[in-house]
């Protein structure tokens, strides 16, 4: 080996050195790095799992929310239709009530108007009759002298056809 230029001792020392180097590197570099990588991978996997879980949970939440929204929308639609119907019924009732009230007011006013008209008619009639009779009375009083009055009295007595009954 010496002829080949190889120093056995040096070779041995180098081999030992290499083995030592290998052991040390493996022990203090490779192993922690591998552990670190494994840990990172595991963390990544956990993260992915968690993300997946979160995603599923989120999807489930969204689905639930969607279902809830649909349910609420249906309920809202039902309630809206019901409220609309009730509002229409109420509106109809209010219109009927208003029409009834309006008719009542119209009737009342008509009656009042008729009463006013009747009262006015009676007042006018009363005034006309009173005035006419006053004119006739005054005219007769002024125009009839004694002889005329006597003539009228005589005529009335002669023409009277009635009879008085004394009990």
């Amino acid at each position: 080996m010496e002829n080949l230029g190889i120093d056995g001792k040096l070779l041995l020392a180098q081999i030992i050195n290499f083995v030592l180097f290998f052991i040390l590197v493996k022990q203090f570099v490779v192993k922690p790095f591998t552990n670190f990588l494994n840990q990172e991978r595991k963390n990544e996997e956990d993260k992915d799992k968690l993300l997946e879980k979160l995603k599923k949970s989120e999807e489930a939440g969204l689905e639930a929310e969607k279902r809830m929204k649909e349910k609420m929308k249906k309920e809202f639609d039902v309630l809206f239709i019901q409220a609309k119907k009730e509002a229409q019924v109420l509106r109809g009732d209010l219109i009927k009530q208003a029409e009834s009230d309006a008719q009542e007011i119209r009737d009342k006013n008509k009656k009042l108007l008729e009463e006013e008209k009747s009262l006015l008619y009676r007042e006018v009639k009363d005034k006309i009759i009173k005035t006419s009779l006053m004119i006739v009375e005054n005219t007769l009083k002024e125009s009839l002298d004694e002889s005329s009055r006597k003539k009228v009295t005589g005529t009335i007595i002669k023409n009277y056809q009635g009879k008085i009954e004394i009990n």
């Binding site: 009639k125 006739v136 007769l140 002669k158 009635g162």
Partner: protein
Amino acid sequence: MKINPKLKKDLKSFLLDNIHKEQNQVQVFSADVLGVDEKKVLGKKFSDLNWSQAHYQIDRSIIAGIVIKVGSKTIDLSLMGSLSKLSNTLYEID
């Protein structure tokens, strides 16, 4: 208080006579004094009435004609009465 029955009877009789007289009492109201002829016609027309005790009174407000009152009854033959009847008729017409 007790009333003497005779006094009660007399009072009743007196009051009944008075009422009878008042019931048959004839009162004639006219605008002017009635002549004899008119009184005769009245006597003939209303022969049932007691004209012997008739009272004749003047009332210018009746204008012309006569009003005869016998007790509570009244016969209105005056122009004023006719006007009053006409007024009532007019009031009854609608």
